[in-house]
Amino acid sequence: MRILVVEDEKKVASFIKKGLEEEFFIVDVAYNGKEGLDLASTEEYDLIILDIMIPFIDGVTLTKELRKRKIITPILLLTVKDSVSDKVEGLDAGADDYLTKPFAFEELTARIRALLRRRENLMSNILTAADLKLDLVTHKVYRNEKEIILTPKEFSILEYLLRNKNKIVSRTKLIEHVYDYHFDTDTNVIDVYINKLRNKIDQGFNKKLIHTIRGVGYIIKED
């Protein structure tokens, strides 16, 4: 899952990026409102974390602008402003959640998971397909109750496919959601990871879960 962090305090942006990457998220950082607006409107994100007091365009105005441009990506406001009126203003501008600094990192990740669940109408933090289970909190994957060890990138790809279970996911879409914007678009790399995933997940099982749709992309189906 790919997250945009718009935060002008470099150190804050840096530890958020680092922490989220440890949670297998792909993170892009913008250091001001203009940059944030450019990235949010051109790239595809699953979530945007936005500081309110940022240069050029403040977080609340940026939220309004994104909503005006029909970008429905969940937005979490992250700020030192902790008055009720500030929270109300932010949420009414179109943000989905509000977290005040200094925050507990665990809470930030829990809120991110919650926002992503809501978006996809998920009931729990465990994604499943037949006897395949992916735990979003512990980052552990099981097939038939047996743990499968995945690299972060493999995990991200599997997570994205599972979130879009029974839907065809194009290679481009996969790249957009599991790589940050510094990545040079080369869809072949996806095929390599899919092969690795197949070896770890489907090999030795009768029921194959990852299917290739020729010329389009991939799909995870239970049957």
């Binding site: 002008d8 305090e9 470099k10 150190k11 804050v12 530890f15 958020i16 680092k18 922490g19 440890e22 250091y31 001001n32 007091m53 940022i54 240069p55 403040d58 030192v80 402003k81 600094k101 200094p102 925050f103 507990a104 990192f105 665990e106």
Partner: protein, 474 residues
């Protein structure tokens, strides 16, 4: 009920009523006494005048007629004694309608008594003077005190007396009426006093009620009644002004704590976040060192913020002592510029000193150094990269000199200029943070300049901003 009575008795309203009523009563008594004594003395005076007139008239008649009743001889006026007696009765009845007692004697022999004395002899002490007035009582002729006048003239002694009763009837009835009316008036004055104090003090009650409602949370409310131009109106006005002053300082304190919290939150967020990430999973020693370095930087930042807050707070409470010494301004500024040039190099900026004359001034070098350093830091941070920061200092007159710091920058709005010295105010909310500064720098400068009884202002044009500090030379 008992408490309410007690409260009423203790109230100003009750005291005022009692004072009103007592004052009224005293005035009433004084007035009564004055009127009484005036009427009394006046009446006595008039009575005395009338008595002496009568006595003199009798004497005059006696003398002019040469009457000797003891050895009465018929004359051309009175052919017989009867004539004389009739004349006397006539006197008594016609001229004595007011019941005057008259007694005329020669030596010890009474030669005439008015009929109303019916042989009662009036006795008076011997007097040396010719005329004397007396008060005496004689139950045989009257129950009341009698006023008498005695005139001695040769052998004759004429006494004219009159019971006071008749004259004092008016005064007495007046006193009676007064005794009845005075308590009624006293009661009316009590009621009136109560009513007046009730009316005037009910506004105090309103003020008390409203004052009780006002707490730190609703200081924007006002006590009604300012429109009356009297003592209460002025009281309300002054109280409202006081509430306004309290509100200003509470708002200021709230703003101070909110701003202080904001200022502290950024380094705290970084510390907390970095430490949490460090503890989340195992890192390489190099990564730990990097995190510790960053934590150290943030700790220094926190200390600086706290120091600045403490300084501002102390200076606002007049807790800072100035250690003024005479210093050569040029050498002083060169020293500061030397220290600041490291930061300037990082920003590819040059620091230039422009000074026309060499002079000395008296100030606290530590504090002014901090102020000028803050101004230069500020200029380096916000100035356009590659453009110089110009520091200049000149004598303005025999009392003052200035230190100015000028840097090139983008246009700043007039509104921003006006608020630039406000604590925590930042022209662009993020600029200071991005450059690692603290939003308190200019506030500290202002505090220091104020401590030196100087002034500071910011002047701008479309492409530069100049901070002008004026300080006394001594």
């Amino acid at each position: 009920m008992k408490n309410r009575i007690k409260a009423y008795v203790l109230s100003t309203r009750f005291k005022m009523t009692i004072w009103y009523a007592l004052l009224f009563l005293i005035l009433e008594i004084i007035l009564g006494v004055i009127i009484y004594y005036y009427l009394y003395s006046n009446s006595i005076k008039r009575l005395d005048l009338s008595l002496s007139a009568q006595a003199n008239a009798i004497l005059h008649i006696l003398k002019s007629k040469h009457i000797d009743l003891e050895t009465f001889q018929p004359s051309d006026i009175y052919s017989s004694e009867e004539d004389l007696i009739w004349d006397i009765i006539y006197d008594v009845v016609v001229f004595n309608e007011r019941n005057t007692f008259i007694q005329i004697s020669t030596g010890s022999k009474i030669i005439y008594q008015s009929a109303n004395l019916s042989n009662i002899k009036l006795e008076f002490p011997q007097i040396k003077s010719k005329t004397k007035t007396f008060d005496f009582t004689d139950p045989r002729i009257s129950n009341d005190e009698i006023r008498a006048i005695q005139i001695n003239n040769g052998n004759y002694k004429v006494i004219v007396a009159y019971p006071k009763e008749h004259i004092f009837q008016t005064i007495n009835s007046l006193t009676d009426i007064y005794i009845i009316i005075a308590p009624v008036f006293f009661l009316i004055s009590l009621l009136g006093g109560a009513l007046i104090s009730q009316r005037s003090l009910s506004r105090i009650d309103k003020i008390i009620k409203k004052t009780e409602e006002i707490t730190a949370h609703n200081l924007s409310e006002i006590i009604p009644g300012e429109e009356h131009n009297d003592e209460f109106g002025r009281l309300v006005k002054k109280m409202n002004e006081m509430i306004q002053r309290i509100k200003t300082s509470i708002d200021y304190m709230n703003q101070f704590s909110i701003s202080a919290a904001h200022e502290l939150k950024t380094p705290l967020t970084i510390l907390r976040g970095e430490i949490e990430i460090a503890l989340k999973s195992e890192k390489s020693p190099a990564e730990y060192i990097e995190i510790l370095k960053s934590n150290y930087e943030e700790t220094l930042r926190l200390i600086k913020i706290v120091d600045n807050l403490f300084f501002i707070s102390k200076s606002e409470n007049n807790l800072i002592q100035l250690n003024k010494i005479e210093i050569n301004v040029k050498e002083f500024l060169i020293g500061i510029i030397k220290n600041a040039s490291v930061l300037a190099h990082e920003k590819n900026t040059e620091l230039k000193l422009e000074m026309n004359e060499d002079f000395s001034a008296c100030f606290d070098p530590d504090l002014i150094k901090q102020a000028v350093t803050n101004l230069i830091d500020n200029a380096i941070k916000y100035g356009t990269d590659g453009f110089p920061v110009i520091i200049s200092s000149n004598k303005i007159d025999n009392d003052k000199f200035n230190i100015t710091v000028k840097n090139w920058c983008d246009d700043i709005s007039q509104k921003d200029i006006e608020k630039i010295f406000d604590r925590f105010y930042r022209v662009d909310s993020s600029r200071t943070r991005r450059t690692g500064g603290v939003g308190l720098g200019l506030s500290v400068v202002k505090s220091i300049v104020n401590l030196h009884s100087g002034t500071i202002k910011a002047e701008k044009s479309s492409n530069y901003i100049e901070f002008i500090t004026e300080l006394p030379l001594k």
